[in-house]
């Protein structure tokens, strides 16, 4: 009896393994069959849904839309992919979304999307390469399509993915429901959050190898993955791709094992944190502004203090730091706030907004003469500003508020 059961179990395991192999073989990586993917109309439909979303967001305010930044990121992706770019005939493309969530994903056609939150969270290019390598692996191995196919009949996320597949079918017939595509989260919510543990592990491992082959030190993958860890009470990041994987620790453990086994020596690309920050400057600053808008003052201040500590020549960074201090505590913390504005002006004394806020802070502190000078500088730089009449009144009546109290 036990023997029969064991035989049955072994047979089942064999069949499952065989099915897995067959499934993997069924969807060969794109680089192994260049020019043949998408292979079916259904897969083509999934691509179209992704392309439709890209078309919708391109040029919109959802993106940072900076060619130089995109070129830099595309350069990293191209470096990770090496000869595969040419072999596949891929036009490397990276979109940068304005979103403070630490997140990235790959569309089925190979376009990689990164969010400002990710770019700001990484400490250097090597760390970013670890995440981009992971996403490139998802693309090469057609994980979006595989995931949709395997999840169509399963539970909640399956229903969502099933809906996506339905859209995909509609897309191929030209009757795609554009209303559904208007949901900007279709990829992040339906596709990227739905990858199975198996696919994620495969992408982790292949991404690490891409990183090594491109000359990046693989150890940087560990802090990169650590930055993806989401606090449970972090509302902004909830329900996003990386937060749906509570097992960052086991993934890091797996990567650490692989790194040890690889015995890589001499890889040192992408470790210059300042160079990285300069390259992603716009995204990092935009991200801090988003954090302030979302009232994540502590997060914004932490990032901006780090940013200004590294890029001391960037007036905008100091100004935004001053603004984060001010908005966190509108009637307090004048010392730090004024210090940040002064640092901004030391770098660029033509920064009108910094003169205005410095003048307002002086005024609130009862430093009338300094307030008048600073506000006059603002008005000289921006005589046509919408608030010029009010600032002009403040300049001429620096002690008026005190009298009114």
């Amino acid at each position: 009896m036990r023997n029969t059961a064991s035989r049955f179990l072994l047979t089942t395991l064999f069949l499952l393994a065989f099915t897995g192999i067959a499934e993997a073989k069924k969807y060969q990586p794109i680089n192994e069959i260049p020019g043949q993917v998408p292979e079916t109309e259904e897969e083509e439909g999934v691509w179209q849904v992704g392309l439709a979303h890209q078309q919708k967001v391109r040029g919109s305010a959802e993106l940072v839309n900076n060619a130089e930044l995109e070129r830099y990121l595309e350069g990293i992706v191209a470096r990770l992919m090496g000869d595969m770019v040419k072999a596949i005939g891929l036009e490397v493309d990276v979109l940068v979304f304005r979103d403070p969530t630490v997140n990235a994903w790959a569309y089925p056609n190979g376009t990689v999307a990164v969010q400002t939150g990710l770019l700001a969270a990484m400490e250097n290019e090597a760390q970013l390469a670890a995440i981009l390598g992971h996403e490139v692996s998802h693309y090469l191995n057609r994980h979006a399509f595989i995931q949709i196919k395997s999840k169509q009949t399963q539970s909640a996320i399956g229903k969502g993915l099933g809906a996506l597949a339905t859209i995909a079918v509609a897309a191929k017939t030209g009757t795609v429901a554009t209303g559904l595509l208007d949901s900007g989260r279709i990829w992040t919510d339906l596709v990227t959050s739905g990858y199975s543990r198996k696919l994620e592990t495969a992408a982790d491992e292949q991404g690490l190898q891409f990183m090594i082959d491109a000359g990046y030190p693989p150890e940087e993958a560990l802090p990169a993955f650590e930055a993806m860890r989401i606090d449970e009470d972090d509302e902004i990041n909830i329900d996003k791709i990386w937060s749906s994987h509570p097992d960052i620790d086991s993934r890091k453990k797996n990567l650490a094992r692989r790194i040890k086994k690889a015995k890589v020596e001499g890889n040192s690309a992408g470790l210059d944190g300042a160079a990285y920050l300069r390259a992603v400057r716009l995204a990092a600053l935009a991200n801090s502004q988003l954090q302030v808008q979302n009232r994540d003052f502590d997060g914004a201040i932490a990032r901006l203090e780090k940013y200004t500590g590294t890029l001391q020549e960037d007036a905008t960074g100091f100004y935004l730091l001053g603004e984060a201090y001010r908005k966190q505590d509108p009637e307090g913390d004048y010392e730090r706030r004024m210090g940040a504005y002064e640092r901004a002006l030391a770098v660029d004394d033509g920064m009108a907004a910094a003169w205005r806020e410095l003048g307002m802070a002086y005024r609130q502190q009862g430093m009338a003469a300094q307030a008048t000078d600073a506000l006059a500088r603002y008005l000289a730089l921006k005589p046509g500003a919408a608030d010029a009449p009010i600032i002009g009144w403040y300049r001429d009546n620096p002690g008026a508020a005190s009298a009114a109290q």
């Binding site: 009232r295 966190q328 509108p330 919408a386 608030d387 009449p389 002009g392 009144w393 508020a401």
Partner: protein, 233 residues
């Protein structure tokens, strides 16, 4: 016989926000406990009551709303800075402009009014009151929204319509008073709404606006709406 009011009703109400209000009064407190709000935000600056153009109320009604809010809040041990303080600052800044109603100028005036208000007065936050139109659900000529109900006046059913008792349902424009308390940074801490009155009547299968002179006639409904908007306290 049930008949759903169709396109004409939807056309009227499509631009109106639904009275999306959570069912439980404790949901009025946003990420903060009532006790904490009472303790840490006991000193609030009340802003002048604003009426959306589509729910324009007479000045006397706005004053009534303002005084009712102040009365209830003070009874609840809050200290309110009168709306006149904010209005004085706003008017002072408006006076500095040749065209204060230009969009950019309005934004600058609003921003600096609040900054100046906070600079002058050590309040913990803002209390704002808005009169606005919402889409109220109605059935069997009875509308129900934001803690109140009201019969929808009807005419034009004709003799057979009256005796067969046709049953209409859908959404209808109604007015409501929304009260929001926010901290000094603008983060909402409290948000609750009380319904005032329906702003339309049914004429057969169509909805039509009530004449302006028939609106805002009941001070009782206004008081009740304010009470409901502050009921979570």
């Amino acid at each position: 016989m049930k008949k759903l009011l169709g396109c004409c009703l939807l056309l009227v109400c499509v631009a109106l926000p639904a009275p999306l209000q959570a069912q439980k009064p404790k949901d009025a407190f946003l990420d903060i406990k009532e006790k904490t709000l009472r303790k840490e935000y006991s000193h609030l600056a009340m802003l002048p009551v604003i009426a959306a153009p589509a729910a324009a109320a007479p000045d006397a009604i706005l004053e009534l709303i303002s005084s009712e809010v102040q009365k209830i809040m003070e009874k609840e041990d809050f200290t309110l800075l009168a709306p006149a303080e904010t209005e004085a600052i706003r008017q002072q800044f408006r006076g500095l402009y040749a065209n204060p109603d230009a969009a950019d100028n309005q934004a600058a005036i609003s921003e600096h009014t609040i900054r100046e208000l906070f600079h002058r007065h050590p309040v913990n936050g803002l209390l704002s009151v808005q009169v606005l139109p919402v889409a109220a659900n109605f059935r069997k000529d009875k509308a129900e929204w934001a803690g109140t109900t009201q019969k929808v006046e009807s005419r034009g059913d004709g003799f057979f319509g009256t005796i067969t008792g046709r049953d209409y349902e859908g959404q209808i424009a109604a007015s409501a008073i929304r009260i929001v308390i926010s901290d000094r940074g603008g983060k909402p801490l409290y948000n609750w709404m009380g319904g005032v009155e329906v702003m339309m009547q049914r004429n057969g299968e169509k909805l039509e606006p009530l004449p302006q002179e028939e609106l805002w006639q009941s001070e009782k409904r206004v008081r009740k709406a304010v009470q409901y908007a502050l009921k979570p306290f």
